[in-house]
Protein backbone atom coordinates (compact mmCIF):
# COMPACT_ATOMS: atom_id res chain seq x y z
CA UNK A 1 0.00 0.00 0.00
CA UNK A 2 1.15 3.55 -0.23
CA UNK A 3 3.84 4.31 2.28
CA UNK A 4 4.84 7.82 3.15
CA UNK A 5 7.62 8.62 5.56
CA UNK A 6 5.05 9.19 8.30
CA UNK A 7 3.33 5.84 7.92
CA UNK A 8 6.78 4.18 7.93
CA UNK A 9 7.78 5.97 11.14
CA UNK A 10 4.44 5.19 12.80
CA UNK A 11 4.94 1.54 11.79
CA UNK A 12 8.49 1.60 13.16
CA UNK A 13 7.63 3.19 16.50
CA UNK A 14 4.23 1.46 16.57
CA UNK A 15 2.39 4.65 17.48
CA UNK A 16 -0.12 6.36 15.23
CA UNK A 17 0.15 10.11 15.23
CA UNK A 18 -2.63 12.65 15.43
CA UNK A 19 -3.13 14.71 12.24
CA UNK A 20 -1.26 17.71 13.60
CA UNK A 21 1.77 15.62 14.50
CA UNK A 22 1.66 14.12 11.01
CA UNK A 23 1.85 17.59 9.49
CA UNK A 24 4.68 18.50 11.86
CA UNK A 25 6.71 15.41 10.92
CA UNK A 26 6.12 16.07 7.23
CA UNK A 27 7.22 19.68 7.67
CA UNK A 28 10.42 18.62 9.40
CA UNK A 29 11.09 15.94 6.75
CA UNK A 30 10.52 18.41 3.89
CA UNK A 31 12.66 21.03 5.61
CA UNK A 32 15.52 18.55 6.00
CA UNK A 33 15.26 17.34 2.39
CA UNK A 34 15.20 20.89 0.94
CA UNK A 35 18.18 21.95 3.03
CA UNK A 36 20.14 18.83 2.11
CA UNK A 37 19.36 19.52 -1.55
CA UNK A 38 20.43 23.17 -1.26
CA UNK A 39 23.63 21.95 0.39
CA UNK A 40 24.15 19.42 -2.43
CA UNK A 41 23.45 22.18 -4.98
CA UNK A 42 26.07 24.38 -3.32
CA UNK A 43 28.62 21.60 -2.94
CA UNK A 44 28.04 20.71 -6.58
CA UNK A 45 29.40 24.09 -7.64
CA UNK A 46 32.41 23.46 -5.43
CA UNK A 47 32.79 19.91 -6.75
CA UNK A 48 32.51 21.13 -10.33
CA UNK A 49 35.27 23.68 -9.89
CA UNK A 50 37.47 21.26 -7.96
CA UNK A 51 37.03 18.40 -10.47
CA UNK A 52 37.48 20.66 -13.48
CA UNK A 53 40.65 21.98 -11.80
CA UNK A 54 41.79 18.41 -11.23
CA UNK A 55 41.11 17.50 -14.88
CA UNK A 56 43.10 20.50 -16.01
CA UNK A 57 46.04 19.82 -13.66
CA UNK A 58 45.41 22.89 -11.48
CA UNK A 59 44.20 23.41 -7.94
CA UNK A 60 40.59 24.45 -7.54
CA UNK A 61 39.25 26.82 -4.88
CA UNK A 62 41.08 26.25 -1.62
CA UNK A 63 41.06 29.63 0.08
CA UNK A 64 37.67 29.74 1.81
CA UNK A 65 37.50 27.17 4.62
CA UNK A 66 39.35 23.82 4.70
CA UNK A 67 40.23 22.79 1.10
CA UNK A 68 37.88 25.54 -0.12
CA UNK A 69 34.80 23.67 1.12
CA UNK A 70 33.01 26.83 2.18
CA UNK A 71 33.44 28.40 -1.25
CA UNK A 72 29.77 28.01 -2.08
CA UNK A 73 28.76 29.78 1.13
CA UNK A 74 30.93 32.69 0.10
CA UNK A 75 29.22 32.71 -3.31
CA UNK A 76 25.84 32.60 -1.58
CA UNK A 77 26.62 35.59 0.61
CA UNK A 78 27.92 37.49 -2.38
CA UNK A 79 24.74 36.66 -4.32
CA UNK A 80 22.49 37.89 -1.49
CA UNK A 81 24.29 41.16 -1.01
CA UNK A 82 24.70 41.88 -4.73
CA UNK A 83 22.22 44.42 -6.13
CA UNK A 84 19.79 42.79 -8.54
CA UNK A 85 18.83 45.25 -11.23
CA UNK A 86 15.70 44.72 -13.32
CA UNK A 87 16.12 46.05 -16.87
CA UNK A 88 14.00 49.14 -17.57
CA UNK A 89 11.86 47.72 -20.35
CA UNK A 90 11.66 44.21 -18.83
CA UNK A 91 8.34 42.64 -18.01
CA UNK A 92 8.45 43.02 -14.19
CA UNK A 93 5.82 40.41 -13.34
CA UNK A 94 7.25 37.61 -15.50
CA UNK A 95 10.84 38.63 -14.68
CA UNK A 96 10.16 37.78 -11.05
CA UNK A 97 8.02 34.73 -11.89
CA UNK A 98 10.54 32.87 -14.08
CA UNK A 99 13.06 31.83 -11.39
CA UNK A 100 10.16 30.87 -9.12
CA UNK A 101 8.75 28.53 -11.82
CA UNK A 102 12.17 26.95 -12.32
CA UNK A 103 12.73 26.34 -8.60
CA UNK A 104 9.12 25.15 -8.12
CA UNK A 105 9.53 22.61 -10.91
CA UNK A 106 12.76 21.23 -9.47
CA UNK A 107 11.86 21.17 -5.76
CA UNK A 108 8.49 19.51 -6.40
CA UNK A 109 10.29 16.49 -7.88
CA UNK A 110 12.01 15.79 -4.53
CA UNK A 111 8.76 14.41 -3.12
CA UNK A 112 9.06 11.14 -5.03
CA UNK A 113 12.83 10.47 -4.99
CA UNK A 114 13.39 7.00 -3.44
CA UNK A 115 16.07 7.72 -0.80
CA UNK A 116 15.38 4.39 0.90
CA UNK A 117 12.54 1.91 1.22
CA UNK A 118 11.00 3.80 4.16
CA UNK A 119 12.42 7.30 4.01
CA UNK A 120 10.88 8.29 0.68
CA UNK A 121 8.88 11.45 1.29
CA UNK A 122 5.85 10.02 -0.47
CA UNK A 123 5.51 6.91 -2.60
CA UNK A 124 2.99 8.17 -5.18
CA UNK A 125 1.52 5.56 -7.50
CA UNK A 126 2.15 7.94 -10.40
CA UNK A 127 5.66 8.67 -9.21
CA UNK A 128 7.70 8.92 -12.41
CA UNK A 129 4.85 10.42 -14.47
CA UNK A 130 4.36 13.13 -11.83
CA UNK A 131 8.14 13.74 -11.93
CA UNK A 132 8.10 14.18 -15.75
CA UNK A 133 5.15 16.56 -15.55
CA UNK A 134 6.61 18.75 -12.83
CA UNK A 135 10.05 18.92 -14.43
CA UNK A 136 8.46 20.25 -17.64
CA UNK A 137 7.70 23.43 -15.65
CA UNK A 138 11.45 24.19 -15.85
CA UNK A 139 11.24 24.52 -19.64
CA UNK A 140 8.42 27.05 -19.28
CA UNK A 141 10.40 28.91 -16.59
CA UNK A 142 13.48 29.14 -18.80
CA UNK A 143 11.46 30.42 -21.77
CA UNK A 144 9.72 33.07 -19.64
CA UNK A 145 13.09 34.08 -18.14
CA UNK A 146 14.45 34.63 -21.63
CA UNK A 147 11.37 36.49 -22.83
CA UNK A 148 10.93 38.73 -19.78
CA UNK A 149 14.41 40.29 -19.86
CA UNK A 150 13.56 41.78 -23.24
CA UNK A 151 17.04 41.71 -24.69
CA UNK A 152 17.89 40.03 -27.98
CA UNK A 153 20.36 37.60 -26.47
CA UNK A 154 18.10 36.53 -23.63
CA UNK A 155 15.11 36.02 -25.93
CA UNK A 156 17.08 33.90 -28.40
CA UNK A 157 18.67 31.97 -25.52
CA UNK A 158 15.25 31.40 -23.96
CA UNK A 159 13.76 30.15 -27.22
CA UNK A 160 16.68 27.82 -27.89
CA UNK A 161 16.74 26.61 -24.27
CA UNK A 162 13.03 25.79 -24.27
CA UNK A 163 13.26 24.13 -27.72
CA UNK A 164 16.20 21.99 -26.57
CA UNK A 165 14.57 20.99 -23.28
CA UNK A 166 11.25 19.99 -24.79
CA UNK A 167 12.80 18.14 -27.72
CA UNK A 168 15.09 16.08 -25.44
CA UNK A 169 12.16 15.24 -23.19
CA UNK A 170 10.90 12.82 -25.86
CA UNK A 171 13.76 10.26 -25.78
CA UNK A 172 13.78 10.50 -21.95
CA UNK A 173 10.00 9.91 -21.73
CA UNK A 174 10.04 6.98 -24.19
CA UNK A 175 12.98 5.31 -22.36
CA UNK A 176 11.24 5.69 -19.00
CA UNK A 177 8.12 4.24 -20.66
CA UNK A 178 10.10 1.16 -21.71
CA UNK A 179 11.47 0.68 -18.19
CA UNK A 180 7.95 0.98 -16.76
CA UNK A 181 7.00 -1.73 -19.26
CA UNK A 182 9.46 -4.10 -17.60
CA UNK A 183 8.84 -3.21 -13.98
CA UNK A 184 5.08 -2.85 -14.32
CA UNK A 185 4.69 0.09 -11.92
CA UNK A 186 5.04 3.84 -12.04
CA UNK A 187 6.13 4.44 -8.47
CA UNK A 188 9.90 4.72 -8.09
CA UNK A 189 9.95 2.64 -4.90
CA UNK A 190 8.27 -0.31 -6.67
CA UNK A 191 10.72 -0.07 -9.58
CA UNK A 192 13.64 -0.22 -7.14
CA UNK A 193 12.07 -3.05 -5.12
CA UNK A 194 11.87 -5.18 -8.26
CA UNK A 195 15.60 -4.90 -8.87
CA UNK A 196 18.28 -6.97 -7.16
CA UNK A 197 21.19 -5.61 -5.16
CA UNK A 198 23.95 -7.15 -7.26
CA UNK A 199 24.52 -5.99 -10.83
CA UNK A 200 22.86 -9.10 -12.23
CA UNK A 201 19.58 -7.92 -10.75
CA UNK A 202 19.87 -4.35 -12.07
CA UNK A 203 17.56 -3.22 -14.84
CA UNK A 204 20.67 -2.04 -16.68
CA UNK A 205 21.59 -5.64 -17.51
CA UNK A 206 18.01 -6.86 -17.70
CA UNK A 207 18.12 -7.08 -21.48
CA UNK A 208 20.13 -5.52 -24.30
CA UNK A 209 17.42 -2.94 -25.05
CA UNK A 210 17.38 -1.56 -21.53
CA UNK A 211 21.19 -1.40 -21.68
CA UNK A 212 20.94 0.92 -24.69
CA UNK A 213 18.04 2.68 -22.98
CA UNK A 214 20.28 3.72 -20.07
CA UNK A 215 22.65 5.60 -22.38
CA UNK A 216 19.77 7.25 -24.26
CA UNK A 217 18.27 8.32 -20.93
CA UNK A 218 21.64 9.66 -19.75
CA UNK A 219 22.27 11.66 -22.94
CA UNK A 220 18.70 13.00 -22.92
CA UNK A 221 18.96 13.92 -19.24
CA UNK A 222 22.27 15.75 -19.89
CA UNK A 223 20.60 17.77 -22.61
CA UNK A 224 17.46 18.37 -20.57
CA UNK A 225 19.40 20.02 -17.76
CA UNK A 226 21.42 22.16 -20.23
CA UNK A 227 24.71 20.59 -19.27
CA UNK A 228 27.83 19.13 -20.87
CA UNK A 229 28.05 19.23 -24.64
CA UNK A 230 24.44 20.46 -24.88
CA UNK A 231 24.77 23.70 -22.90
CA UNK A 232 24.07 25.84 -25.93
CA UNK A 233 21.34 28.12 -24.48
CA UNK A 234 23.80 29.55 -21.96
CA UNK A 235 26.85 29.29 -24.18
CA UNK A 236 29.15 32.06 -22.96
CA UNK A 237 30.77 32.55 -26.34
CA UNK A 238 27.67 33.11 -28.48
CA UNK A 239 24.67 34.08 -26.34
CA UNK A 240 26.40 35.85 -23.47
CA UNK A 241 25.04 33.31 -20.95
CA UNK A 242 21.73 32.98 -22.73
CA UNK A 243 18.42 33.33 -20.91
CA UNK A 244 19.81 34.58 -17.63
CA UNK A 245 21.82 37.44 -19.16
CA UNK A 246 19.79 40.14 -17.45
CA UNK A 247 19.50 38.36 -14.13
CA UNK A 248 21.88 39.30 -11.36
CA UNK A 249 22.23 38.62 -7.66
CA UNK A 250 19.75 36.34 -5.94
CA UNK A 251 17.54 35.69 -9.00
CA UNK A 252 20.51 34.33 -10.93
CA UNK A 253 21.36 32.17 -7.88
CA UNK A 254 17.89 30.56 -8.12
CA UNK A 255 18.43 29.63 -11.77
CA UNK A 256 21.86 28.12 -10.97
CA UNK A 257 20.54 26.32 -7.87
CA UNK A 258 17.61 24.91 -9.85
CA UNK A 259 20.00 23.62 -12.51
CA UNK A 260 22.33 21.89 -10.07
CA UNK A 261 19.49 20.31 -8.07
CA UNK A 262 17.92 19.14 -11.34
CA UNK A 263 21.17 17.39 -12.30
CA UNK A 264 21.03 15.60 -8.93
CA UNK A 265 17.37 14.64 -9.48
CA UNK A 266 18.15 13.31 -12.95
CA UNK A 267 21.07 11.24 -11.65
CA UNK A 268 18.86 9.96 -8.79
CA UNK A 269 16.21 8.81 -11.29
CA UNK A 270 18.91 7.11 -13.35
CA UNK A 271 20.16 5.17 -10.30
CA UNK A 272 16.59 4.32 -9.20
CA UNK A 273 15.61 3.08 -12.65
CA UNK A 274 18.76 1.46 -14.00
CA UNK A 275 21.33 0.89 -11.23
CA UNK A 276 19.23 -0.76 -8.57
CA UNK A 277 18.57 2.35 -6.42
CA UNK A 278 19.01 1.81 -2.72
CA UNK A 279 19.15 -2.00 -2.72
CA UNK A 280 21.94 -3.31 -0.48
CA UNK A 281 23.24 -6.88 -0.71
CA UNK A 282 21.52 -9.63 1.35
CA UNK A 283 19.00 -6.97 2.44
CA UNK A 284 21.13 -6.45 5.50
CA UNK A 285 19.23 -4.98 8.47
CA UNK A 286 16.04 -4.42 6.49
CA UNK A 287 13.74 -3.49 9.36
CA UNK A 288 16.05 -1.44 11.52
CA UNK A 289 17.01 2.20 11.10
CA UNK A 290 20.57 1.06 10.44
CA UNK A 291 19.33 -0.72 7.33
CA UNK A 292 17.62 2.48 6.19
CA UNK A 293 20.79 4.48 6.77
CA UNK A 294 22.78 1.95 4.70
CA UNK A 295 20.21 2.15 1.93
CA UNK A 296 20.37 5.95 1.90
CA UNK A 297 24.17 5.74 1.81
CA UNK A 298 24.03 3.31 -1.15
CA UNK A 299 21.56 5.57 -2.98
CA UNK A 300 23.70 8.69 -2.48
CA UNK A 301 26.90 6.80 -3.41
CA UNK A 302 25.49 5.72 -6.77
CA UNK A 303 23.98 9.14 -7.47
CA UNK A 304 27.23 10.98 -6.69
CA UNK A 305 29.11 8.55 -8.93
CA UNK A 306 26.79 9.52 -11.80
CA UNK A 307 27.12 13.18 -10.81
CA UNK A 308 30.90 12.81 -11.12
CA UNK A 309 30.46 11.39 -14.63
CA UNK A 310 28.24 14.36 -15.58
CA UNK A 311 30.88 16.84 -14.40
CA UNK A 312 33.64 14.80 -16.04
CA UNK A 313 31.80 14.84 -19.38
CA UNK A 314 31.37 18.59 -19.17
CA UNK A 315 35.09 19.25 -19.16
CA UNK A 316 36.02 16.75 -21.85
CA UNK A 317 33.51 17.09 -24.71
CA UNK A 318 33.23 20.19 -26.97
CA UNK A 319 29.92 22.01 -27.34
CA UNK A 320 27.55 20.97 -30.14
CA UNK A 321 26.20 23.22 -32.89
CA UNK A 322 22.46 23.90 -32.83
CA UNK A 323 21.58 21.78 -35.83
CA UNK A 324 23.80 18.91 -34.68
CA UNK A 325 22.05 19.12 -31.32
CA UNK A 326 18.61 18.85 -32.90
CA UNK A 327 19.67 16.23 -35.45
CA UNK A 328 21.02 13.99 -32.66
CA UNK A 329 17.72 14.28 -30.83
CA UNK A 330 15.29 13.75 -33.66
CA UNK A 331 17.22 11.57 -36.06
CA UNK A 332 19.20 9.36 -33.70
CA UNK A 333 17.88 9.32 -30.12
CA UNK A 334 14.13 9.25 -30.77
CA UNK A 335 14.19 6.46 -33.41
CA UNK A 336 16.49 4.32 -31.22
CA UNK A 337 14.25 4.98 -28.20
CA UNK A 338 11.17 3.90 -30.18
CA UNK A 339 13.03 0.79 -31.40
CA UNK A 340 13.97 0.03 -27.78
CA UNK A 341 10.36 0.39 -26.70
CA UNK A 342 9.14 -2.12 -29.29
CA UNK A 343 12.08 -4.41 -28.50
CA UNK A 344 11.35 -4.40 -24.78
CA UNK A 345 7.62 -4.97 -25.45
CA UNK A 346 8.55 -8.03 -27.49
CA UNK A 347 11.06 -9.19 -24.83
CA UNK A 348 8.47 -8.95 -22.03
CA UNK A 349 5.95 -10.78 -24.18
CA UNK A 350 8.23 -13.59 -25.33
CA UNK A 351 10.25 -14.18 -22.14
CA UNK A 352 7.49 -13.19 -19.74
CA UNK A 353 9.58 -10.33 -18.37
CA UNK A 354 12.45 -12.50 -17.14
CA UNK A 355 15.90 -10.92 -17.27
CA UNK A 356 18.72 -12.32 -19.39
CA UNK A 357 20.45 -13.66 -16.26
CA UNK A 358 17.36 -15.52 -15.13
CA UNK A 359 16.83 -17.08 -18.55
CA UNK A 360 20.42 -18.33 -18.74
CA UNK A 361 20.27 -19.61 -15.14
CA UNK A 362 17.04 -21.50 -15.79
CA UNK A 363 18.41 -22.88 -19.05
CA UNK A 364 21.50 -24.14 -17.16
CA UNK A 365 19.37 -25.64 -14.39
CA UNK A 366 17.18 -27.45 -16.91
CA UNK A 367 20.19 -28.69 -18.90
CA UNK A 368 21.91 -29.63 -15.63
CA UNK A 369 19.13 -32.05 -14.65
Amino acid sequence: MNQTIVSYLSELFAVNFSPWVVILIFFVAVFVVVNVMALIGGLATYAERKISADLQMRIGPNRVGPYGLLQFLADGVKMITKEDTIPRDADKFIFALAPLLCLLGVLATLAVLPFSSGLTLTDLNIGIFYLLGVSSLVGVGIFLGGYASNSKWAMLGGMRGAAQIISYEIPVTITILSIVLISGSLSLNQVVERQGAFPNGWLLFHNPFSFIGFFIYFIGALAETNRAPFDLPEAESELVSGYHTEYSGMRFAFFALAEYIEVFVVCAVATAFFLGGYKIPFNYGAGTLLGQALQVAMFFAKTFALYYVVIWIRWTLPRLRVDHLMTICWKYLTPIALFNLVGIAMWVWLFNGRSLYMIIKQALVISGK
Binding site: I126, G139, V140, M155, E169
Partner: protein, 184 residues
Protein backbone atom coordinates in the same frame (compact mmCIF):
# COMPACT_ATOMS: atom_id res chain seq x y z
CA UNK B 1 -9.40 18.82 6.74
CA UNK B 2 -6.44 18.75 4.39
CA UNK B 3 -8.87 17.97 1.53
CA UNK B 4 -10.75 21.24 2.11
CA UNK B 5 -7.51 23.23 2.20
CA UNK B 6 -6.29 21.73 -1.08
CA UNK B 7 -9.72 22.16 -2.70
CA UNK B 8 -10.14 25.81 -1.74
CA UNK B 9 -6.54 26.68 -2.69
CA UNK B 10 -6.73 25.07 -6.13
CA UNK B 11 -10.25 26.41 -6.77
CA UNK B 12 -8.99 29.92 -5.94
CA UNK B 13 -6.01 29.42 -8.28
CA UNK B 14 -8.23 28.16 -11.11
CA UNK B 15 -10.86 30.88 -10.82
CA UNK B 16 -8.40 33.76 -10.45
CA UNK B 17 -6.28 32.40 -13.34
CA UNK B 18 -9.29 32.14 -15.64
CA UNK B 19 -10.48 35.62 -14.65
CA UNK B 20 -7.06 37.13 -15.29
CA UNK B 21 -6.91 35.47 -18.73
CA UNK B 22 -10.02 37.48 -19.63
CA UNK B 23 -8.78 40.76 -18.22
CA UNK B 24 -5.10 41.05 -19.28
CA UNK B 25 -4.25 42.83 -22.53
CA UNK B 26 -0.77 41.32 -22.87
CA UNK B 27 -0.72 37.98 -24.71
CA UNK B 28 2.19 36.47 -22.79
CA UNK B 29 0.51 37.42 -19.51
CA UNK B 30 -2.71 35.68 -20.55
CA UNK B 31 -0.65 32.56 -21.40
CA UNK B 32 0.96 32.68 -17.93
CA UNK B 33 -2.42 33.11 -16.25
CA UNK B 34 -3.79 30.18 -18.26
CA UNK B 35 -0.81 28.20 -16.94
CA UNK B 36 -1.81 29.23 -13.38
CA UNK B 37 -5.41 28.16 -14.02
CA UNK B 38 -4.26 24.77 -15.38
CA UNK B 39 -2.11 24.21 -12.26
CA UNK B 40 -5.24 24.94 -10.22
CA UNK B 41 -7.14 22.33 -12.22
CA UNK B 42 -4.36 19.81 -11.45
CA UNK B 43 -5.09 20.45 -7.75
CA UNK B 44 -8.82 19.94 -8.36
CA UNK B 45 -8.19 16.60 -10.07
CA UNK B 46 -6.10 15.57 -7.05
CA UNK B 47 -9.01 16.26 -4.70
CA UNK B 48 -11.23 14.21 -7.03
CA UNK B 49 -8.97 11.19 -6.52
CA UNK B 50 -8.06 11.27 -10.24
CA UNK B 51 -4.28 11.16 -9.85
CA UNK B 52 -3.41 9.89 -13.34
CA UNK B 53 -5.57 12.51 -15.07
CA UNK B 54 -3.89 15.17 -12.91
CA UNK B 55 -0.44 13.94 -13.97
CA UNK B 56 -1.51 13.80 -17.63
CA UNK B 57 -2.84 17.35 -17.40
CA UNK B 58 0.48 18.39 -15.86
CA UNK B 59 2.56 16.68 -18.56
CA UNK B 60 0.48 17.44 -21.65
CA UNK B 61 -1.02 20.84 -20.88
CA UNK B 62 1.57 22.51 -18.68
CA UNK B 63 4.57 20.95 -20.42
CA UNK B 64 3.24 20.94 -23.97
CA UNK B 65 0.31 23.17 -24.87
CA UNK B 66 1.49 26.21 -22.89
CA UNK B 67 4.98 25.99 -24.44
CA UNK B 68 3.33 25.63 -27.85
CA UNK B 69 1.21 28.73 -27.20
CA UNK B 70 4.23 30.72 -26.03
CA UNK B 71 6.20 29.71 -29.14
CA UNK B 72 3.25 30.62 -31.36
CA UNK B 73 2.97 34.03 -29.69
CA UNK B 74 6.68 34.64 -30.26
CA UNK B 75 6.43 33.54 -33.91
CA UNK B 76 3.47 35.79 -34.68
CA UNK B 77 4.43 39.31 -33.80
CA UNK B 78 5.48 38.74 -30.22
CA UNK B 79 3.81 41.05 -27.79
CA UNK B 80 3.67 44.31 -29.67
CA UNK B 81 0.42 43.70 -31.59
CA UNK B 82 -1.76 46.72 -30.98
CA UNK B 83 -5.44 45.82 -30.40
CA UNK B 84 -7.88 47.85 -32.48
CA UNK B 85 -9.62 50.53 -30.40
CA UNK B 86 -13.37 49.93 -30.11
CA UNK B 87 -15.70 52.44 -31.72
CA UNK B 88 -16.46 54.15 -28.43
CA UNK B 89 -12.75 54.25 -27.50
CA UNK B 90 -13.06 51.66 -24.77
CA UNK B 91 -9.40 50.81 -25.26
CA UNK B 92 -9.12 49.34 -21.81
CA UNK B 93 -12.30 47.26 -21.99
CA UNK B 94 -11.88 44.19 -24.21
CA UNK B 95 -15.59 44.36 -25.17
CA UNK B 96 -16.40 45.67 -28.62
CA UNK B 97 -19.26 45.70 -31.12
CA UNK B 98 -22.49 47.67 -31.64
CA UNK B 99 -25.83 47.56 -29.83
CA UNK B 100 -27.09 44.49 -31.75
CA UNK B 101 -24.22 42.30 -30.56
CA UNK B 102 -24.68 43.51 -26.97
CA UNK B 103 -28.40 42.73 -27.12
CA UNK B 104 -27.90 39.20 -28.43
CA UNK B 105 -24.97 38.72 -26.09
CA UNK B 106 -26.99 39.56 -23.00
CA UNK B 107 -29.93 37.43 -24.21
CA UNK B 108 -27.77 34.34 -24.74
CA UNK B 109 -26.01 34.99 -21.41
CA UNK B 110 -29.34 34.99 -19.57
CA UNK B 111 -30.52 31.75 -21.19
CA UNK B 112 -27.20 30.02 -20.51
CA UNK B 113 -27.15 31.12 -16.88
CA UNK B 114 -30.74 29.97 -16.29
CA UNK B 115 -30.05 26.51 -17.78
CA UNK B 116 -26.81 26.08 -15.84
CA UNK B 117 -28.30 27.43 -12.62
CA UNK B 118 -31.23 25.05 -12.93
CA UNK B 119 -28.91 22.09 -13.46
CA UNK B 120 -26.65 22.97 -10.50
CA UNK B 121 -29.65 23.60 -8.25
CA UNK B 122 -31.12 20.18 -9.06
CA UNK B 123 -27.74 18.53 -8.53
CA UNK B 124 -27.33 20.29 -5.19
CA UNK B 125 -30.71 18.92 -4.15
CA UNK B 126 -29.97 15.37 -5.24
CA UNK B 127 -26.89 15.35 -2.94
CA UNK B 128 -25.17 12.85 -5.16
CA UNK B 129 -22.21 12.04 -2.94
CA UNK B 130 -20.49 8.73 -2.40
CA UNK B 131 -17.86 7.97 0.16
CA UNK B 132 -14.35 8.84 -0.97
CA UNK B 133 -12.55 5.64 -0.07
CA UNK B 134 -8.91 5.35 0.88
CA UNK B 135 -6.34 6.66 -1.58
CA UNK B 136 -6.03 4.13 -4.36
CA UNK B 137 -4.38 4.67 -7.64
CA UNK B 138 -6.37 4.75 -10.82
CA UNK B 139 -3.49 3.97 -13.18
CA UNK B 140 -4.01 0.21 -13.19
CA UNK B 141 -7.76 0.48 -13.73
CA UNK B 142 -7.29 3.00 -16.55
CA UNK B 143 -4.70 0.71 -18.10
CA UNK B 144 -6.92 -2.36 -18.02
CA UNK B 145 -9.94 -0.36 -19.25
CA UNK B 146 -7.84 1.15 -22.08
CA UNK B 147 -6.69 -2.26 -23.22
CA UNK B 148 -9.98 -4.09 -22.87
CA UNK B 149 -13.10 -1.90 -23.24
CA UNK B 150 -11.66 1.14 -25.02
CA UNK B 151 -9.09 -0.50 -27.31
CA UNK B 152 -10.77 0.95 -30.39
CA UNK B 153 -10.59 4.54 -29.12
CA UNK B 154 -7.00 3.88 -28.02
CA UNK B 155 -6.02 2.96 -31.58
CA UNK B 156 -8.11 5.67 -33.24
CA UNK B 157 -6.47 8.31 -31.06
CA UNK B 158 -3.12 7.34 -32.59
CA UNK B 159 -4.60 7.94 -36.04
CA UNK B 160 -5.95 11.29 -34.79
CA UNK B 161 -2.45 12.19 -33.58
CA UNK B 162 -1.01 11.15 -36.94
CA UNK B 163 -3.48 13.43 -38.72
CA UNK B 164 -2.66 16.32 -36.38
CA UNK B 165 1.09 15.76 -36.77
CA UNK B 166 1.12 15.58 -40.57
CA UNK B 167 -1.48 18.32 -41.01
CA UNK B 168 0.15 20.82 -38.69
CA UNK B 169 3.61 19.99 -40.12
CA UNK B 170 2.40 20.72 -43.65
CA UNK B 171 0.71 23.97 -42.63
CA UNK B 172 3.58 25.25 -40.51
CA UNK B 173 6.30 24.25 -42.95
CA UNK B 174 8.22 27.35 -44.15
CA UNK B 175 7.79 28.20 -47.81
CA UNK B 176 11.33 27.69 -49.06
CA UNK B 177 11.54 24.03 -48.17
CA UNK B 178 12.46 20.88 -50.00
CA UNK B 179 9.46 20.23 -52.20
CA UNK B 180 9.67 23.79 -53.46
CA UNK B 181 13.11 22.94 -54.84
CA UNK B 182 11.84 19.71 -56.40
CA UNK B 183 9.26 21.67 -58.39
CA UNK B 184 12.08 23.92 -59.75
Amino acid sequence: MFLNVVFSLSALLTVSGALMVVVTRNLIHSCVFLLMSLLGIVGLYVTLNADFVAATQLVVYVGGVIVLMLFAVMLTGGNNTKEVLSRFGFESLPLMGNVKTYFWGILSAITMMSVAGNLIYRVAQSSLASVLEQYKSSVDEIGTKLLTDHVLSFEISSILLLGALVGAAIIARPLGSKQLNEEK
